[in-house]
């Protein structure tokens, strides 16, 4: 019979990885193509769009939380989905934070790819879409870095997750919100322990991804 505390910590950790992992994936699926498109095309307002994206790096998580809370509360425009106080709401709130980060770093990486590569690829007969994919592949290391940075932002944040999740035990309680709770209740030892777990988990994910990169599997 697993010790109750251990079970809790395991469950909380898995939920943290699920929520932040999903937000990273969702945010990257949107952010990478967006960043590649902006990085590769020339258009009026490109400079402005880039500046806005980079500024959104500092988009406060609490505002993302507030926004999601407002629209998904039963009293809000999308309340009928009943998403507030569920992991889904937390994922959405974190995704909003991940998108600008992933898009911005992708823009930078893609811009650094030799301009000639795109022209060469086009002159070899690639369609626009194929050319974009090829450039993304050239900028791949940068793109993976973007995704990892996005994950870092998601796993570390607490404001949005707390607001839209409600910190419900067994349902929406993750490592960061647990630490808030335990500190509030005065269980500093437990809170520090959770903090250590969070650090190990976050580092672990990064190390794993680096390991995959080194084996050229990522």
């Amino acid at each position: 019979m697993v010790d109750a505390v251990t079970y809790d910590v395991v469950q909380i950790t898995l939920l943290s990885l699920y929520v932040s992992g999903s937000a990273t994936i969702l945010g990257s699926l949107i952010g990478v193509p967006l960043g590649a498109a902006v990085g590769l095309k020339e258009f009026g307002g490109k400079g402005l769009l880039k500046t806005i994206t980079y500024t959104m790096y500092g988009f406060p998580p609490v505002i993302s939380g507030l926004f999601i809370y407002y629209i998904f509360s039963r009293a809000g425009p999308l309340g009928d989905f009943g998403i507030l106080f569920t992991p889904t709401a937390m994922i959405l709130a974190q995704t909003l934070l991940v998108i600008p980060l992933v898009a911005g770093v992708t823009i930078t990486s893609v811009s650094e790819v030799d301009k000639n590569i795109k022209n060469t690829v086009l002159s070899l007969g690639a369609s626009d879409r194929q050319a974009t994919f090829t450039v993304i592949k050239e900028a791949w290391v940068g793109v993976i870095t973007a995704v990892m940075i996005g994950f870092g932002r998601a796993i570390a944040e607490v404001g949005a997750a707390y607001m839209v999740g409600g910190n419900i035990e067994g349902k929406t309680r993750i490592l960061t919100t647990s630490i808030m709770l335990e500190t509030r209740m005065g269980h500093f030892g437990y809170a520090i322990g959770l903090g250590v777990v969070l650090l190990i988990v976050a580092c672990g994910v990064f190390l794993f991804m680096r390991w995959l990169q080194e084996r050229e599997l990522l």
């Binding site: 000639n116 060469t120 070899l124 007969g125 690639a126 626009d128 050239e138 791949w140």
Partner: protein
């Protein structure tokens, strides 16, 4: 001999400058046409227009019997029949084999066939030993040979070479020039070569043109251009007086 490429009054104007001015030329099967001229005379821009990477302000391009333009549907399919090799080689971040095979992979050529054709070209350009190496680790000359192979392996009808041997040592230049000749001699195709080097023009090209300030000053058979230039500027150029 069938005409591969014809331009009529091709012009490209930017806000502050006219890059290409009323260029009309014709390239037939088997031709290797040299385009010479000082920097900034519009040679590279002319190539970009022909390759449909930019839209001309005025003028017409006829390629392989059809009028083409940047608004043609499937522009990329038209480009597949041309190849552009630039002065500075750009290697994709993969091994030499996959760089050269890229065009074939785009066209979804069957694996065995790809293997055969790539190996053949690697052999011809002396790159067989570097097959597995990451292309970025090649020397300048090796990389340019690889880029050449990458461009011609897809058997384009028109080969556009923009100072493709500048900065290379004589041995590499010789290998590449031979490759161009072999390529064109296979029939049904032509090449246009932008070059700074009059000697290269004399070696490689059967026809030559001098371009200045976006326009063609004089063009004709290579030997005639060098031995009997009619225009003053051409005279100055071939005598070496013009500094560029």
């Amino acid at each position: 001999m069938s005409e591969i490429l014809r331009t009529e009054g091709l012009t490209k104007e930017y806000a502050k400058k006219i890059a290409v001015s009323d260029v009309s030329m014709s390239v037939s099967e088997g031709d290797i046409v040299g385009i010479m001229g000082p920097s900034g005379s519009g040679k590279s821009t002319l190539f970009r227009l022909i390759n449909l990477l930019e839209r001309p302000t005025r003028g017409k391009i006829v390629f392989d019997g059809n009028e083409i333009s940047t608004s043609s549907p499937d522009v990329h399919l038209i480009r597949r029949k041309m190849a552009l090799v630039l002065q500075k080689p750009s290697a994709m971040n993969r091994n030499v084999f996959n760089n050269v095979a890229f065009g074939l992979q785009l066209r979804q050529v069957e694996k065995g066939e790809t293997e055969r054709r790539v190996s053949d070209y690697l052999e011809r350009l002396g790159l067989t030993e570097s097959r597995e190496r990451n292309a970025r680790s090649l020397s300048g000359g090796e990389m340019q040979r690889m880029c050449f192979a990458r461009s011609v392996i897809v058997e384009p009808k028109l080969l556009l070479l923009d100072e493709f041997t500048a900065n290379l040592d004589p041995q590499n230049i010789s290998i590449l020039e031979k490759a161009v000749r072999d390529f064109v001699n296979q029939g049904g195709r032509a090449a246009v070569v932008i070059t700074h080097n009059p000697f290269q023009a004399k070696r490689l090209c059967n026809r030559a043109a001098l371009m200045m300030n976006g326009g063609i000053v004089e063009e004709g058979e290579t030997l005639r251009i060098f031995n009997n230039p009619t225009d003053e500027r051409t005279k100055a150029f071939v005598s070496g007086e013009m500094v560029f």
